[in-house]
Symmetry: C2
Subunit: 536 residues, 2 copies
C-alpha cells in the first residue's frame, strides 16, 4: 500500500498546538490518583498538633509513603505573626478559609495543617522571612502553583507555607538571544502567552500550565510535552536566584549561554523540590515559535514495530519531530467504554501520536509524507490519520490525553510514572499483566516513548491492599533491575521519598543528605520530603 | 538586489563538515597563547621541591594567575611507589621522559614537576588509588587529553598525575534512544567515528577532538561548535560515574532521559575541572547524524545588521541552524597579511559563517535560499558565498578557524574568552580599541555569536606589561559590568582561578568552597585550581 493513498484521508493543520492546549486543560482529571484517607483536624495557634494528622498516600503509618513523626521545629507564636505581618503588610494570611486551599494538594490526596500562608513579593522579603524562620527554627514549605503530584507542595504538619504567587513579574526578555528572566511565581501559561506575542515559546509545556509556576517547574525539574525536542531544564535554565535556608541570597541569575567560572551551583536546585532553597527568579533560554505544527495518529501491530517506527521517525523527521507518544489497545478499550471515544483508525495493538514543529509548513508536510510512505511500505504501521480542523485535532489528541480520565472510570487506579530504557518500556506492562493475572481489572500502558517514560496503570473494582502488595515492590524491583527510574518526572516529594533506593545508590543518597545538611543545616526547608527518613 | 542573483555564484555541499574537521585539525595553532616563562627543575623522589618551580602565566608571584605556595601534602615515597606498581602493574610510570609530556600543558604555558604518572584501566583501580592517596594525604591531578587551556590539566608541583587515557572502552550504545555509555578516557574523535558508523553524532565537537577525552570534556563543561544546536553538556550528559577523593565510587551513571529521584548530583561534576572527583564513565544523549550540511559566508556593514541577520536566521533557518560565527575586518586583515588568505567576498566591516544541518538537503537549500533572499532584500547583508568543493569549503572555514593562527604571527597575543549578552559582544571590542589607542598593535574580535561568546585578542610587538596593565582589569571590569562571564568555555584552572569574583558573587563562591570541602575534605584533588586562593 502506498502512503500517498493513505494520505488521501490525511489532513494537516497549523492550529494543532493551540487545540492541544485547550484539550489538555479541559481534560484535567479531577480525581486522578488514589484518593487518600484524610484525617481532618485543626488546632489553634501554638497548641499541640496531632502526630497522626497527616497520613501518607497509603494510609497506615507503616507504609514507606506515610508521613514520619513531626520533627521538633518551633511552633508559630503571636510574636512570630507580628513579625510576618510587619514584614509582609496584608500578605501574612492566617484566615483558615484562605489558608485551607494551600494546605491541600491538587490531587486532594494529602493535607497539612499550616495556619500561616506568607505571600512575599520580593527576593528581599523571602530573605527576611527565611532568615527569621531559621533563627526561630520554624519549618517552611515553599509553594508554587501547588500542582505537584507527589505530596511535596503542601505542609505535612504545621510548616509555614511560603507561596511565590505574588512574585510574578517578568524582569527582562532579550529578543535576540531568546533569554527570559522572571520571578519564580510567574505562571507558565502567562510566560507562554508573553513569549508567543514575541515569536518565542517556553522550552517546556505541561497540562498544568494554567496553574504551575516556573519556580515550581524548576524545583521539580518538570518534563512535559516538549522535552523530546528542547531537552531538560538542566540545559535550558541559564540562571537562578535562590534564597537559602538562613536567608542568604544566592545570586546565580546568569543570563548567558556559556559561563564556566566555577561550579554550576544552580543545577543543584533544579529538581530539589524546595528542600535546598527557595527559588526566587529564573532565567531561561527560549526557542523560536515554530511556524508549522502537524499531528499524526498511527497504528502498529507490535511494540517492536512501534520502536522501529520511532527510529525511522527520528531519522526522517529529524529536526522537526517534537512529540512521540503511545497508548496500547487496553487504553483504547477504556476510551471507547468509559468516554465513548471512537477509535479514529482501525483496531491495532498499539497507537502512536506524532507531532512535528518546524519553520516551513510545506517542508514539514513533505517530510511527514515521505516518512509515512516509508513507514507504510516497510509495513511498520498499518493505519493512520492526520487532523486539520480543531475538532478533529482535539479528537486525536484525546486518544492520548484522556486516558487518565478514562482510567478513573474503570475503578480504583494504582498509578506509576516510570523511566526505562526505551526498548524495555512495554515489557514491564506485559510482565505486570502476567504477574497480576485476574487480580487486576485492567493493566494499561501509555506515555512518552520518545523520552523512555511509561505511565503504567492498574485498576481494580475498589481499593485493594492485596493487589497493591502484588504490584509493589514488584514494579520497583523490576524497574531497578533494568536501571530504570521510579519517578521519571514527578519527583519524590512526601509520597515516594522512601523508594529512592530503587533508583539511586546508597552512597549517592548519602551525598544528597550531606548537601541538604550543608545548605539547610537545621532542615527547616520542606521537611519530610524528597530524602528518605533513614537519613534524618 | 535579488538573493537568487547572488545565489548564482553560491554552491552547496554535503561534505562540508568532514572538511571542516580536517581543516580545524590542520589549523591547530602550536603556540597559541602567551608562551610563559618556564622554570625547569627536577628533584629526586622524596627530596625537597623548589617552591618557585612553577609560575603562573603572568610570571611574577604577585599576579593573581601565579601559582600559590605548595600546600603541605605528603611527598611520594618508595613505599607509595610499591603500592602503585602492585595496583597498576606496568602502568605506574616514573620514567622522567615518559612523565614529562604529562607535566606540560598543550599551550606549553605551564609545567609541573610530578614524578609519577598513573594509568588505571578500571574504575576499581581509580578507587584504589584515590583511597590510598587520601589516606596518605597525597595530592592528585586528574588528566584527560591534556588539551585544557587554563593550566588545569597539569600538576602545579609534584601532584600525582592520574591519567584516564587507558580507560577507553565503549560500554554500550542504544541505537533506539541514541544513548552512549563509555569510559571517561575515550577520545572524542573516536567516539564520533564510532557513532557516525551508526548514523549518530556526538552532541559536541571541538578543534581538540583528536586528543581531548569525553571525561575531560565533561570536567571542563566544554562548549565547542555544536552548542548552538544541541545545547550544553548539562543537558546532554545523562549520567556519570565518579570516584570521590576518598576512593568512594559514586554511581550516577543513569542512561535515562528522565529521572527525578533526588538531587541531580552528576551536574555538580560537570565543569568541576577535576577538583571534586575523578569522572570514570559517562553516558550521553547523541543526536542523529544530519543528512545535509551547508555553509555560507556573508558580509555585513554594521554589527547591528549582523545581529539582525542572526535574528532573521533563527526565524527562517529555525531547526536547521547549527552554527553562527563571526569575525571582524581586523581579523580579515590579519588573515590576508600573515596567512595570505584572500577574502572570498568583497570587503566588509563584519563577516558571518553560517552552518545548517538537516535531514533533507532540498529543504535545507531552499530554506537557505529564502533566508538569503530576505537578508539581501532587507539590506542586512551586502555580499556572500556558499561553498561546494572541499577545497572551497576549507577556504571559507579558514576565514574563521585560522584567525587564531594569524594572530600568533601578528606579535605577542593577549587572549580572552568572554561571554556577554549577545547585543554587547562587539561593544567590548570597540571600547577596548578606544581604551588602548596606539598602545596595541591590533585589537580583534571573533567568536560564537550564536552563543554570546566573544574571542577578544590584543597583539603587541612583544610582551608588554604596561599594555597588560591597561587590558586587565579593564576587560574583567567591563565584562562584570554587563553581567558577562570572564570564562565562557575554558574554565578557570590555575590561570583564572582568582578572577572568579568578576563573574560569581562572594556567597556563591563560598558555597563552592563548602562543596569542595564536603566532597574532598583534604583538598587532594587538583589543588590550586578553579577556586580562588582566598578560600583555602
Ligand atoms: C494536570 C497536571 C499535569 C502535569 N503534567 C506534568 C508533566 O507533563 N510533566 C511533569 O514533569 N510534571 C507534570 N505535572 C506535575 C508537575 O510537577 C507540576 O505541574 C509542576 O512542575 C509543579 O509546579 P508548581 O508551581 O505547581 O509547584 P508546586 O506544586 O507548588 O510545588 C512542587 C514542588 O516544588 C517546590 N517548589 C515550588 N515552588 C518553589 C520555589 N519557588 N522554590 C523552591 N521550591 C519550590 C515545592 O516545595 C514542591 O516540593 C503535572 C501536574 C498536573 C496537576
Ligand atoms: C585546539 C583546541 C581547541 C579547543 N576548542 C575548544 C572549544 O571549542 N570549546 C571548549 O569548550 N574548549 C575547547 N578547548 C579546551 C577544552 O577544555 C579541552 O579541549 C577539553 O574539553 C579538555 O579535555 P581533555 O580531555 O583534554 O582534558 P584535560 O586538558 O586533560 O583536563 C582539563 C581539566 O579537566 C580535568 N579532567 C580531565 N579529565 C578528567 C576526569 N576524567 N575526571 C575529572 N577531571 C578531569 C583536569 O584535571 C583539568 O582540570 C580547546 C583546546 C584546544 C587545544
Amino acid at each position: 500500500m502506498n502512503a500517498y493513498v493513505m494520505l488521501g484521508v490525511f489532513q494537516t493543520s497549523q492550529k494543532l498546538r493551540t487545540s492541544l492546549r485547550l484539550l489538555s486543560r479541559a481534560g484535567l482529571p479531577p480525581v486522578d490518583l488514589q484518593v487518600q484517607l484524610l484525617l481532618r483536624g485543626r488546632s489553634p495557634l501554638s497548641a499541640t498538633f496531632s502526630r497522626k494528622l497527616h497520613l501518607g498516600p497509603d494510609g497506615p503509618a507503616s507504609s514507606p509513603a506515610a508521613a514520619p513523626r513531626r520533627l521538633p521545629f518551633s511552633r508559630v507564636t503571636v510574636e512570630d505573626l507580628t513579625f510576618f505581618r510587619k514584614t509582609l503588610p496584608g500578605r501574612a494570611i492566617t484566615d483558615p478559609d484562605l489558608v485551607q486551599s494551600s494546605n491541600e494538594d491538587w490531587l486532594k490526596s494529602v493535607r497539612g495543617s499550616s495556619e500561616v500562608l506568607l505571600r512575599p513579593q520580593t527576593t528581599q522579603e523571602v530573605s527576611q522571612i527565611l532568615s527569621y524562620c531559621h533563627s526561630r527554627n520554624l519549618a517552611v514549605n515553599p509553594q508554587g502553583g501547588n500542582t505537584g503530584l507527589v505530596g511535596g507542595s503542601v505542609p505535612v504538619y504545621d510548616e509555614i507555607i511560603l507561596s511565590t504567587s505574588l512574585m510574578n513579574s517578568i524582569l527582562s526578555f532579550d529578543k535576540i538571544s531568546g533569554i527570559l528572566t522572571c520571578q519564580a511565581g510567574c505562571v507558565l501559561e502567562n510566560l507562554s502567552l508573553y513569549l508567543e506575542e514575541r515569536d518565542y515559546i517556553m522550552p517546556l509545556d505541561l497540562g498544568a500550565k494554567g496553574s504551575c509556576q516556573i519556580g515550581g517547574n524548576v524545583a521539580t525539574n518538570a518534563g512535559g510535552l516538549r522535552l523530546l525536542r528542547y531537552g531538560s531544564l538542566h540545559g535550558t535554565v541559564l540562571g537562578l536566584e535562590v534564597v537559602l535556608a538562613d536567608g542568604q541570597v544566592l545570586d546565580c541569575l546568569s543570563t548567558l549561554r556559556k559561563d564556566n567560572t566555577g561550579y554550576d551551583l544552580k543545577q543543584l536546585f533544579i529538581g530539589s523540590e524546595g528542600t535546598l532553597g527557595v527559588i526566587t527568579a529564573v532565567s531561561i533560554l527560549c526557542p523560536r515559535k515554530p511556524k508549522s505544527v502537524n499531528v499524526v495518529f498511527l497504528g502498529c501491530e507490535t511494540f517492536d514495530q512501534l520502536l522501529k517506527t520511532f527510529q525511522l521517525c527520528k531519522g526522517m523527521l529529524g529536526e522537526i519531530l517534537s512529540a512521540f507518544e503511545f497508548l496500547d489497545s487496553e487504553c483504547m478499550r477504556l476510551l471507547n467504554t468509559h468516554l465513548k471515544l471512537a477509535n479514529p483508525i482501525s483496531d491495532c495493538p498499539f497507537y502512536i501520536v506524532i507531532e512535528t514543529s518546524g519553520s516551513d509548513s510545506d517542508h514539514d508536510s513533505q517530510k511527514l509524507h515521505n516518512f509515512l510512505e516509508e513507514a507504510m511500505t516497510s509495513l511498520l504501521v498499518t493505519d493512520g490519520t492526520v487532523a486539520t480542523e480543531e475538532s478533529k485535532i482535539k479528537t486525536l489528541w484525546s486518544m492520548r490525553e484522556r486516558v487518565t480520565e478514562a482510567l478513573t472510570h474503570d475503578g480504583f487506579t494504582y498509578k506509576y510514572d516510570i523511566s526505562l530504557p526505551v526498548e524495555r518500556i512495554y515489557q514491564l506492562v506485559t510482565d505486570m499483566r502476567e504477574h497480576l493475572g485476574k487480580r487486576a481489572r485492567s493493566v494499561v500502558g501509555y506515555g512518552h516513548v520518545g523520552d523512555g517514560n511509561l505511565h503504567l496503570n492498574v485498576t481494580s473494582p475498589a481499593k485493594d491492599p492485596a493487589l497493591l502488595a502484588s504490584i509493589e515492590p514488584f514494579i520497583y524491583e523490576w524497574t531497578a533491575k533494568f536501571q530504570g527510574s521510579i519517578s521519571a518526572e514527578h519527583g519524590l516529594g512526601l509520597k515516594k521519598r522512601n523508594y529512592i533506593y530503587y533508583s539511586k545508590s546508597r552512597p549517592a543518597v548519602a551525598v544528597m543528605g550531606k548537601m541538604k545538611t550543608l545548605l539547610d543545616p537545621k532542615g527547616i526547608l520542606n521537611p519530610y520530603k524528597t530524602l528518605p527518613d533513614d537519613l534524618k
